[in-house]
Amino acid sequence: MVYVLIITHGCFGKELLRSAELIMGEQQDAKAICLNLGDEVEALRNEVEDIIIKNKSLNKETIIFVDVLGGSPSNVALYMSNKYGTKVITGVNLPMLLELFASRNTDTVEELIDKAFKSGIGGINKI
């Protein structure tokens, strides 16, 4: 199963994961990390790198979700993308997480990325 890692400014990601679990039930292999004011980006990078390496050793793929492109969480994610080929999605929202959790037992990483991306955008409506 694909490992889901969410990294955000503040604890938005942690709450987002809780919201997703409220709907989809408790999730294995899903983690959210908060980056708060005063936290070291270097420490965040090490924490994330440890997760990626551990997942690799278990033959588990990781998808990293971050809030905004250009922020420190996304810089850490892009670092992993460049170094380990880890897949990254920016602009994390609830629709994409729900899609991902619904499909990750059956789909490949590429399919999941595609579905999450489409659901993330499709979940935004102007009414």
Binding site: G70, G71, S72, Y79
Partner: protein, 164 residues
């Protein structure tokens, strides 16, 4: 001839605060990261280039030599640029080599063992403070401490008092 719209020391370099707050309103079209170490690190160069992919800004990661060459040859050409430095020493090097920085914003320096906070996002060591004083007295650079355009701005004189 280009224009330096902001020169900032921030050890996170390009990140949320810079991309969402500083880069807007200043009318900039480019960000130059100036750092000898990162300019030789293809992976990190790529990370910073990708981080501004959808912003429409031109991103360059340059060594001190490269930025000075760019300045001497083109005065930064068509760019209205934000210069980002990881540390104060690099600012001193480019200023002493003739880069025309009149105002310097110190926005983010994380805490080290022997440093003290002057604003919540900036912790200075004595040697940092000495370099800033030199930049101010010898080269006339106006140094201020401020995390975001709308947070409290502290002058060099007031920051130095905090360190005493």
């Amino acid at each position: 001839m280009g224009e330096i719209v902001l020169a900032r020391v921030d050890d996170r370099l390009i990140h949320g605060q810079v991309m969402t707050k500083w880069s807007r309103g200043l009318g900039c079209n480019a960000i130059f990261v100036i750092d000898d170490v990162i300019s030789k690190d293809p992976l990190m160069k790529n990370v910073y280039s990708m981080s501004a992919l959808t912003s429409g800004l031109t991103i360059k990661v340059l060594s001190v030599d490269e930025v000075m060459q760019n300045w001497k040859e083109t005065k930064f050409g068509k760019y209205k640029v934000i210069l980002l430095f990881k540390n104060i020493e690099t600012v001193k090097r480019v200023v002493s080599e003739g880069l025309n920085i009149q105002k310097l914003n110190i926005g983010g320096i994380s805490k080290k063992e022997n440093s003290k906070f002057v604003i919540p996002s900036v912790a200075l060591t004595k040697s940092d403070a000495e370099i800033l004083e030199e930049l101010n007295e010898k080269y006339g650079v106006e140094v201020t401490f401020q995390m975001l355009p709308d947070t409290k701005k502290v002058s060099l004189a007031d920051a130095l008092k905090t360190l005493d």
